[in-house]
Symmetry: C2
Subunit: 390 residues, 2 copies
């Protein structure tokens, strides 16, 4: 079958999971002898991203030259676009216990599984404030991405990894899929243009509209929720998955819509995270990614369209995936449709807008938002969830 | 101002209207001495298309080499894509009265105005059946495009034209605009991606949806109805213009939606006409054109997506404009939205479909179709129109 999909970032998919059973067992045995380092949940997610090939062409946690290129100029030392450093942080005392040039074992964040081994090529200190400011545009530790930098160890270990396990994700999520698998699926379906929809929320009608605009102009859509750990207050992945499945079953065509998950943790990094999301989606075989209002944003750290504009600053060839920049969307009573700031001429008084806080309050009280806001199938699940919290 | 618009077809806009007042008067005076040829309404429309630059880079009616290249291979003799021949047909006796190498005057179809002069470089006979079959995929004279070939003279005159007048179009339509004007307007608005919407019908909600999908993914939309003579039964341009203005006033944003008209006559040529429409729109400065189901089709002469598929057969560089291929669209009761065959999973029983014939009957009886089918402002105008016919 001819492959019309976009190439992987940097040219080739590089999944770092050891697939051969014998080799893996051998590697796990050898790892039991090694000094071990416990991962944070973010690092564990990143390791699994490396394992699947979603972070291609990285071969492990960044060394110093790559790290500094990424923080300062959004580029690896070979010039390839990369917006957010993928790092492994340890305390000074742990760092002192590890010799450069030796192999260590990487341990899951919430149990004792040995997930991978890593050849520590480099140990280096870094400036937390510079990383925060450059990557997240703020040093405010209320920002969840910044907070993770400030609460981690002060030394980064850099080097290639060999991964033994993708943790519990493949068991928990039947929709867990690696880039090579989504690519094979898209090829089997004969798609060449595929739009990714990144989400960490249930899909309400305004989001459904975004995906359907994308469907009108592409062969297919990949609904691609992040299922790594989210910040407090975000709706947990298992509940969101129920919502996604319900809406896909009732309002999408299975021929052209695919639901798959990926295990990264959100950084809430706005523009730079939008670029990371795009690189990941290109690895998954997507030619387009929906970038809506305040993509991957949190609080007021970013302008509503910063994550769209950053794509305009890239050099030709930096990315094969194209952003599908879409505007703020909502139901309009005069249009009698879900529309956007671009397609609706009417005033705000005609627009059905419900803030996140308001929606949570309504659902917690068992109050149903209008069907123009969200599908009843989704609301049922959310009301159940909020009532279970009480 | 930097120009990010697509280039004109073949590179440069070539409007053939003489703009200089003195030169034009001189040319008109000279033309009064010449042998004159009365144009058909189609030829007159084509002449005005040439005058405005919409048929760039043609410099007049096609000579034999260009004609044959177009009919057989959709290419001018220099290799440039051109799908439907732009021709001037005369009877044998008129042809005999004209010497090759002389200039003739071209007279309006419905009055005696001298619209242009033409240097007759060539006279040649042609095969009507071959033209019909190649261009329209049929020799059935029930096809309105084929009928025009069969009822015209048997000799084509080829040569460059100098046009004195765009006829009555600029007076009748305040929205009459030449390619240089739409380009200036798009540049002033700072657009680089503009989607054209070709139409010969009132805009109902399914068409509105097509234009709004285009708006979501482009900087602006050009609603661009054809106002040349249509086939019997089509709604006349003045009524349609009222409908367009009403819907634009109420459901579109003036910042990103422009209504302009062009004077061509429909050929109902399906796939080849879609290519012609695309070339014209590229001349008008559009980067995209909506190609829906059965674009420019009539009866059952073409498959519903032939006019989309023909674009896949072009060579790279043939066109700078890209087709926005959209599917069949309709209101769905379950989706509670206008959707398409791509975005709706529900059965036909949920879809609000009203055939052209049924709609005419309803409107003629003063019966209003549901608001989900068409905006009330449009229905008011159409009911008025049909009741005036009785």
């Amino acid at each position: 079958m001819s492959n019309n999909l976009v190439p992987a970032h940097g040219g080739v998919l590089k999944p770092l999971l050891i697939n051969n059973e014998t080799e893996r067992e051998q590697a796990i045995r050898s790892a039991s002898e090694l000094i071990s380092v416990k991962l944070s949940s973010k690092e564990e997610s990143d390791l699994i991203m490396l394992a699947t090939g979603a972070f291609s062409p990285l071969d492990g946690f960044l060394g110093q030259a790559d790290y500094e290129g990424v923080v300062k100029e959004m580029r690896l030392s070979n010039g390839l676009l990369w917006p957010i450093p993928i790092t492994l942080a340890v305390s000074e005392s742990i760092a002192n216990s590890i010799k450069t040039g030796t192999r260590i074992a990487l341990i899951a964040s919430e149990n004792d599984s040995v997930l991978a081994s890593m050849l520590v090529n480099e140990k280096f200190s870094y400036d937390k404030k510079i990383e925060a400011q450059n990557v997240y545009c703020t040093t405010d530790s209320d920002h969840p991405g910044v907070d993770k930098i400030f609460s981690q160890g002060s030394i980064y270990l850099g080097g290639p990894v060999e991964v033994f396990s993708e943790g519990e994700y493949p068991e928990i999520y039947e929709e867990f899929a690696r880039p090579a698998e989504t690519r094979a699926l898209f090829e089997e379906k004969g798609w060449s243009t595929v739009a990714a929809f990144q989400t960490r929320n249930p899909i309400h009608r305004s989001h459904e509209y975004l995906t359907k605009v994308a469907l009108e102009v592409c062969d297919g859509v990949l609904i691609h929720p992040v299922v790594g750990k989210l910040k407090t207050g975000d709706i947990p992945a298992d509940i969101r998955m129920k919502c996604y499945r319900a809406i896909l079953d009732n309002y999408y065509r299975p021929e052209n819509t695919v639901l798959k998950v990926y295990p990264m943790e959100m950084r809430y990094g706005g523009p730079r995270e939008a670029i990371l999301h795009a690189i990941i989606r290109q690895n998954f075989g997507c030619s387009h990614m929906i970038i809506g209002r305040d993509h991957a944003g949190v609080g007021d750290y970013y302008g509503p369209f910063d994550a769209q504009q950053i794509f305009d600053k890239l050099e030709p060839g930096d990315l094969h995936l194209k952003p599908l920049k879409l505007d703020w969307t909502f139901w309009c009573n005069k249009c009698e449709a879900v529309v956007s700031t671009k397609t609706c001429p009417h005033g705000k008084e005609e627009h059905l807008m419900i803030s996140g806080t308001k929606l949570r309050d309504m659902l917690a009280n068992g109050e149903r938002p209008p069907v123009e806001f969200s599908r009843p199938e989704v609301i049922d699940i959310l009301i159940d969830y909020y009532s279970s919290l009480e």
